[in-house]
Symmetry: C2
Subunit: 189 residues, 2 copies
């Protein structure tokens, strides 16, 4: 997606060889116009699928998922990552390892909000090692529902996320895939 | 807002005299069509204000803020509630006490994303004791910006949030104000 790639080149801050900060438009300040273009692009790429539900994980996935959901006319469900007193006790859950935090946490979705008839599009802002997305795939499958695919805004192509998801037989559509970012220069695939 | 009130009456689960669970449409599964109607209503109520930015706090505020932002054509900024490695060190912050968790936490916004020229609409899903909203007001004022008002989806009118915000001289627009919910019956103001 050229619009997104150009925005990344213009505004992203590269730290070291593997961290790309996009908090000016994607995960702290949110450029809703850009999000709408991303939503249209997800709809285009998954136009062959009859999506019934979009699943994401808090927090920064929520914004992307909600704007995209308008183009699919479906509800969004977001997996809870943190303790939530108001969450049902009857949940699907999956353990996710965070490399940045070097610890595992559980993501959880109430059993009420995914059913076996669902064809679920998973959406997230980043794909790096694929741990969060894999956890979401597990949750959809625990529910007996189908994973239509995973839609990602920025994929770090030099990490293992795509491989991990492909091993699960999941289709991946990333709007921008970064091949490398050595010496502060972002190269897309 | 009648549509919202009817939805609350239809789908909310009341627990005790003070907890209302609306995770089937507002903060776990998200009814994006309803969110669009809420966004239009916020725009109508704040049509006399020239809003430049919407501020919310993760996680469930993000969805409401993003859909509403489309009607104001402005970016959204969400305050970070949890540790985030990619957050700038140079932030505005405010300590927020959580009654449900019985502890305090900091909410933080990078100084880059609110400037003194801003006229900020604060949006959140719930107003109870007003601690989170007050923290957001503090952050806007630390930045030297103006608080245009606070837009709330569901206000618990029997708690202290409105009073706390009014003491700060802040305008509040709530789409549904619950007066009481004794014995499982929700009464709106």
């Amino acid at each position: 997606m050229e619009l997104l790639k150009n925005r990344i080149l213009k505004d992203a801050i590269v730290i070291g060889d593997s961290i790309v900060k996009v908090d000016s438009f994607l995960n702290h300040q949110l450029d809703i116009e850009l999000f709408n273009e991303m939503g249209k692009e997800f709809k285009k790429r998954f136009s062959d699928e009859n999506i019934s539900r979009i699943l994401t994980v808090e927090a920064s996935g929520i914004a992307v998922a909600c704007i995209a959901a308008q183009y699919f006319s479906v509800p969004v469900v977001f997996a809870k990552k943190y303790e939530a007193l108001n969450l049902d006790s009857d949940t699907y859950q999956s353990e996710v390892y965070s490399f940045t935090k070097q610890k595992s946490y559980n993501i959880r979705v109430s059993k009420k909000y995914i059913s076996p008839e669902d064809n679920v599009l998973i959406i997230d802002d980043f794909l790096a090692n694929g741990k969060a997305a894999s956890g979401l795939v597990d949750i959809v499958r625990q529910a007996g529902a189908r994973v239509a695919g995973v839609g990602i805004v920025i994929e770090k192509g030099f990490q293992k996320g795509r491989e991990a998801l492909m091993q699960k037989g999941v289709r991946i559509e990333s709007l921008a895939v970064i091949k490398s970012m050595k010496e502060g220069i972002i190269i897309f695939e």
